[in-house]
C-alpha cells in the first residue's frame, strides 16, 4: 500500500465482490472512492451537529456553522490560501461557470479568452457562451507527446486577451502543464489567470502563487463527497465581482428594491450550502494530509511509470501523452489495435491508419475481468479532435491503487 496512513481497507467499497472477485478500480480521474473517515464525518455531522448555518443563534446552529467554516479553513490551508478566498461550489464546472457569469460578463466585444486544446468541456463551454457577444475564444495547441506549445501560447496572447484559463493537468493526456510559468506570462500581459485544478490539487502538492487569480477544483475527485467543489479567488477580485446566484445567506440587508450583499466568500454562496459536503471534503483533506501530498504524487508516479513500461511491451497498445512519468499524472489514455482480419469496407477508403478497437469494447472487455476503466471522449472532444481519435480507453490511479492493480490491468489487456 501507499503508506501506513492509507490502506485499501479504509475504503469500504473495495470489500464488494463482483462475480466473486474484487474490483480493480482505475477510474479515479472520473471520481474517487471514499475512505471510512470521510463517510464517518458525514454521518457524524448529521447524527450530532446538523442545523442550518450562518442563521440561528442557538448552540447546535453555532456548532454547524463552526464545522462548515472550519472545513473552509482546512481546504484553504491545504492549498496555501486564506479562508475568505475559498468559495464552496458544487464542483469544478460550477466554479468555472461562476467565473464566466461574473468576470466573463464584464468582457466587451473584441476581447479574447485564451484556453488550450486539452481542456475538459467544463473549461471550454463556460467561455464558448461568450462568443455570442463577439468575444473570441483562442486555443493553445500541444505537441505530439501532449506537451502544451508554450510558443503558441505566447503568440496567441494578445492585448485583447483578458482571460487565460488553463488546466493544470490534462484529464486525458495526463500532461502536467507549467502553470507557474504560464501564469507569469498571463499576468505580464495583464490577463486574469484561471487554473482548472480538478486533476492536480487531488494528486500533487499545490501551493498558491501570486500569479494565480482563480483556482477551481472538485471534492469528489479527492476522496470527498460529490456535490462539493471549490473556487479559490484572490480576495480583492472576489470583492469586485458581482454575485453569481442570489437569494438567502448571501446578503447583509434587503429592502424592497435594493440589497447589500455579504462579503466574499458568502456573497457567492446563495441558499443553504452543502455543509455535509464541506465537512466530508475537510475529512478528505485530513486523510490526504496524513499521507502527505508529496507521497501521493510519488506513489502515482511510480504506478504510472510501471504501467507505461508494461504497456510499451504490449505491441498492440498505444498510449497518449508524455512518455516521461515526471511530466504527467497518473492518468493513461490508450487504444488497442485490432489486428483481426476484418472484411469491413473501411479498407476501401485506403486509409493508412491502424484499425483500433472501439474504446467501449476495450472497456467492456476489461469489465468482464473486473477491471474498471473509462472509455469515450472523456468530456474533452476538442482534444480528441486534435488527436484525430473518436475516443480512448483510460486508466487512472489514486492513493488506494497498488502494484497488484497495475498487474491485473496489464495482464487483462494482454488477453485482448
Amino acid at each position: 500500500m501507499i503508506s501506513d496512513f492509507c490502506k485499501k481497507e479504509d475504503f469500504p467499497i473495495f470489500k464488494r465482490k463482483f462475480n466473486g472477485k474484487s474490483m480493480v478500480y482505475l477510474d479515479s480521474t472520473a471520481t474517487t472512492q471514499k475512505p471510512k473517515q470521510v463517510l464517518d464525518a458525514i454521518v457524524n455531522y448529521y447524527e450530532g451537529s446538523n442545523a442550518n448555518v450562518h442563521r440561528s443563534v442557538y448552540k447546535l446552529a453555532d456548532e454547524a456553522t463552526e464545522l462548515y467554516e472550519n472545513s473552509r479553513s482546512n481546504v484553504a490551508e491545504f492549498i496555501g490560501a486564506r479562508s475568505n478566498e475559498i468559495v464552496f461550489t458544487r464542483n469544478t464546472t460550477e466554479s468555472l461557470n461562476l467565473l464566466s457569469f461574473t468576470i466573463g460578463e464584464s468582457l466587451r466585444k473584441g476581447d479574447r479568452i485564451l484556453i488550450t486544446s486539452m481542456e475538459h468541456h467544463s473549461n471550454i463551454l463556460p467561455w464558448m457562451r461568450l462568443e455570442e457577444r463577439g468575444i473570441y475564444l483562442d486555443y493553445v495547441g500541444f505537441d505530439k507527446e501532449g506537451h502544451l506549445d508554450i510558443e503558441d501560447l505566447k503568440s496567441k496572447l494578445k492585448r485583447e486577451t483578458k482571460i487565460v484559463s488553463v488546466t493544470h493537468q490534462s484529464n486525458v493526456l495526463g500532461t502536467i502543464n507549467p502553470i507557474e510559468e504560464i501564469g507569469k506570462t498571463a499576468k505580464e500581459n495583464g490577463s486574469t489567470f484561471i487554473i482548472d485544478a480538478a486533476q492536480s490539487v487531488p494528486h500533487m502538492p499545490f501551493k498558491m502563487k501570486e500569479q494565480y487569480d482563480f483556482v477551481a477544483f472538485s471534492g469528489h475527485k479527492m476522496l470527498g463527497p460529490m456535490g462539493i467543489g471549490v473556487l479559490y479567488g484572490k480576495y480583492h477580485l472576489l470583492e469586485e465581482m458581482p454575485p453569481f446566484n442570489r437569494g438567502g445567506e448571501m446578503i447583509k440587508d434587503v429592502d424592497f428594491h435594493s440589497a447589500i450583499f455579504e462579503d466574499p466568500p458568502i456573497k457567492f454562496e446563495a441558499g443553504t450550502p452543502n455543509v455535509e459536503g464541506a465537512v466530508g471534503l475537510a475529512a478528505a483533506v485530513d486523510y490526504l494530509k496524513k499521507i502527505g501530498m508529496e507521497e501521493v504524487r510519488r506513489h502515482e508516479k511510480r504506478l504510472t511509470s510501471m504501467t507505461l513500461k508494461k504497456l510499451e511491451d504490449l505491441k498492440n497498445v498505444k498510449y497518449y501523452g508524455p512518455r516521461n512519468a515526471e511530466e504527467r499524472g497518473g492518468v493513461i489514455a490508450f487504444n488497442v489495435k485490432d489486428s483481426s482480419n476484418l472484411k469491413n469496407d473501411l479498407e476501401s477508403k485506403n486509409m493508412k491508419v491502424d484499425r483500433l478497437y472501439h474504446s467501449h469494447d476495450i472497456a467492456t472487455f476489461l469489465d468482464e475481468r473486473n477491471v474498471y476503466v473509462r472509455s469515450g471522449h472523456h468530456c474533452a472532444e476538442p482534444l480528441m479532435r486534435s488527436l484525430h481519435l473518436p475516443g480512448t480507453a483510460r486508466a487512472s490511479f489514486y492513493v488506494y491503487n497498488g502494484e497488484e492493480d497495475v498487474e491485473a490491468f496489464v495482464s487483462s489487456l494482454g488477453e485482448l
Binding site: 483481426s340 482480419n341 476484418l342 472501439h358 473518436p390
Partner: protein
C-alpha cells in the same frame, strides 16, 4: 471478446457496403462515442423494405447491431420496424447488454426511426 456469433458478424458483416440505387439514406453520428453509420434503404414502393445496407464505423456492438438490423429488415414494413419495442430489440441481441452499452445496440433502430419519420 463477446461471443462467436457477435465476433463472426463483426469480422464478416453481411450487409456492409455502399448502395447506389437507394431511396432513403440516413446519416447517423453519435458524438458521444464517435460512431458514424450511414444506412441505405431500398423499398418495394409499398412501404416494405427490399434491401438495406450500411457503411461506417463504430464499436463492435453498434456495428453488429446495425448489420443484423439491415439483414432482418428485408421484407418488413417500415412502420412495423419503427414500431418495435426498445427493450425487446435489445433483448434480441445475441448477448446480454449492460445498461452502459444499450445505446450502442440501439444505434440502428434510433437512426432508422429518425430517418424514416416522414415516410
Amino acid at each position: 471478446m463477446y461471443n462467436d456469433e457477435v465476433m463472426d458478424r463483426y469480422q464478416n458483416p453481411a450487409k456492409n457496403g455502399k448502395m447506389e440505387d437507394f431511396e432513403i439514406k440516413i446519416d447517423e453520428a453519435s458524438s458521444t462515442c464517435g460512431d458514424r453509420v450511414v444506412l441505405y434503404i431500398k423499398t418495394d414502393g409499398n412501404g416494405r423494405i427490399s434491401d438495406m445496407k450500411w457503411q461506417g464505423e463504430g464499436c463492435i456492438l453498434s456495428v453488429v447491431s446495425t448489420d443484423m438490423f439491415c439483414e432482418n429488415a428485408i421484407g418488413k414494413e417500415i412502420n412495423s420496424l419503427k414500431g418495435q419495442d426498445d427493450l425487446a430489440f435489445v433483448e434480441n441481441f445475441p448477448i446480454k447488454i449492460s445498461p452502459g452499452r444499450i445505446n450502442c445496440v440501439m444505434l440502428p433502430l434510433r437512426a432508422f426511426r429518425r430517418g424514416t419519420k416522414e415516410k
